[in-house]
């Protein structure tokens, strides 16, 4: 049970959002650190916050831009909090927001920036191992067999899910089509003006079965930032606050066991986190209005939605349809900016920004009267994380 005295619910809020232009991989005209600064300044401007008031930073996915460097470059009077979530990919996205909220609630800092910046032309490609001659440790039991990339790591889990519950290919397609559909309304989206037809989805090459090309996230350059502060301070800023009702991070028993030995294998890793999130917020899946669900690969979205209680695993192809997953009329609208598949793969921070827009009522695919806006970050890795935002405190 949740200790109500200690719960994070309603104590903090997201008050500012900022992004650079989103680019295709290696096409950013600016270096990564410059884009990181741009996004942070844009978030402060959006919030109506004096840059000097920023006093903390949180990030994830081994971001290269160190808070001490950022704070000094910006001439901030004080750095009071800096924090990084372990783990690659986007599993730490909502966790970074959770850490920022915890810091604010504990009084460690007043205005904590959560950021992510990526320039793959300046640095190496994300998710690709540098060429090695020898490999030791757990990877010695996978790489020599040609199991190398994230897609290959996660296809194995999704295949098992499809075997256990019978289905999932149609749901994967619906997730992809919904993301591309929403991107057509969003001028920031890298895939804006490039709609995806059913024929193109079905005719696309396999990357690794059961993932076709359009089941896989893009690779992009850019930067994004948000500002977390107390609910009281947020109320004095420019936009209606997106109140943080709950944010959880972690994974179930043994999910870090090497060589695909997690006891519960056909999972996105949200089974325990979803329960904690709903307990903390005091709500259930039927109360959620809109969802931003991290798509490294569409099969992970299907499993995330199941584990957050939106659908039984045996029914994914029946419930997770294009009609249901699209705004404004679907019963389960997801990834309303285009998300990692079609807006920008900013490792899911763009999904958190979109969740804030849905609370503010400013999405390009707005759902009516949003009270509760859910984010799920980084399925199938460990740790994963999730975040529930509300229009009310």
């Amino acid at each position: 049970m949740v200790d109500r005295e200690l719960t994070i619910k309603g104590r903090t809020a997201i008050a500012g959002i900022g992004e650079t232009v989103y680019y295709k991989r290696a096409q950013a005209p600016d270096p990564e650190f410059r884009m990181c600064l741009d996004a942070i300044l844009a978030a402060a401007e959006d919030a109506g916050l004096a840059v000097d008031d920023i006093d903390g930073f949180a990030s994830y996915s081994n971001d290269r831009n160190e808070p001490s460097h950022i704070a000094s470059a910006l001439g901030l009077p004080e750095l009071r909090f800096s924090n990084m979530v372990w783990g690659g990919g986007g599993g730490g996205g909502s966790a970074a927001v959770a850490n920022a909220a915890a810091a604010v609630a504990a009084g460690y800092a007043n205005y904590v920036v959560v950021f992510r910046a990526l320039a793959q032309g300046q640095f190496g490609r994300f998710g690709q191992a540098p060429p090695l001659r020898g490999i030791s440790g757990p990877m010695a039991y996978t790489m020599p067999y040609g199991l190398v990339s994230p897609a290959q790591m996660f296809a194995m889990r999704v295949q098992r899910f499809m075997h256990e519950y019978g289905g999932g290919q149609a749901a994967q397609k619906a997730v992809s089509m919904a993301s591309y559909h929403h991107a057509q309304a969003n001028p920031r989206a890298v895939m804006h003006g490039r709609p995806l037809t059913e024929e193109a989805y079905d005719g696309a090459r396999w990357i690794v079965e059961p993932f076709r090309l359009y089941d896989c996230c893009m690779e992009n350059d850019g930067a994004a930032a948000i500002i977390v502060t107390s609910a009281e301070r947020a109320a004095d800023l420019r936009h209606p606050p997106a109140h943080i009702w709950a944010a959880e991070q972690g994974s179930d028993l043994g999910q870090g066991l090497p060589v695909h030995n997690a006891p519960d294998y056909a999972t996105s890793n949200f089974k325990t986190l979803a329960k904690h999130l709903y307990d903390t917020a005091g709500v259930g899946p039927h109360d959620i209005d809109v969802i931003q669900s991290y798509e490294n690969f569409t099969g992970g979205v299907v499993m995330s939605l199941v584990e957050h209680g939106f659908c039984e695993p045996e029914e994914v192809d029946k419930v997770l349809t294009f009609e249901n997953l699209t705004a404004p009329n679907g019963s389960l609208p997801i990834n309303t900016s285009g998300g990692n598949l079609a807006e920008c793969y900013m490792h899911g921070l763009e999904l958190i920004i979109e969740a804030v827009r849905q609370v503010r009522g400013t999405s390009t695919s707005q759902v009516a009267d949003v009270e509760l806006s859910l984010v799920t970050s980084g399925p199938m890795v460990t740790p994963v994380s999730n975040l529930l935002l509300s229009a009310s405190r």
Partner: protein
């Protein structure tokens, strides 16, 4: 179970042993499959670890297990992500469960025609794939369907 030609082309990173798993790699070159078994609770465990994740005993012993199992999951890879694999696609990677060793799972390639249908639950046996040309030499454990 004899040595076979390599399933994938040369050029992928070669496995290198470390203190924890030296026994596995040297046994493999002798065409024996060895994994860890806890002397505290008797449970097999994989991959290599310093402690039993069930009873937390540090007394893990390497024991030989029969290289037989069932396909727990699989994938057919069409897009090469390593220069050595450009000519190798499609190829099949399987996750094999060893029911007689507490259900530990191992990753390997499924030998044979890569376009053939793969069934979860199919029985497979291990095949030791030697790489004597490498320095130091090593052996991979591959899998083929039982008739």
């Amino acid at each position: 179970m004899s040595a076979t030609d390599a399933y994938l082309p040369a050029g992928l990173p070669a496995p290198a042993s470390e203190a924890l798993d030296e026994t596995y790699w040297s046994a493999a070159t002798d065409h024996r499959l060895m994994i860890q078994c806890c002397q505290g609770c008797g449970r097999h465990q994989w991959g290599p670890e310093w402690i039993c994740n069930k009873c937390r005993s540090f007394d893990l012993e390497w024991v030989e297990v029969e290289p037989r199992g069932v396909i727990y999951s699989w994938e057919r890879i069409w897009h090469p992500v390593h220069p050595a694999l450009v000519e190798a696609c499609p190829y099949v990677v399987v996750l094999v469960e060893l029911p007689h060793a507490d259900g530990v799972r191992m990753v390997g390639n499924l030998l044979g025609d890569p376009t053939e249908e793969v069934q979860i639950g199919s029985e497979v046996e291990g095949v030791f794939e030697d790489h004597p040309e490498c320095e130091p030499p090593y052996t991979l454990v591959q899998w083929r369907r039982l008739p």
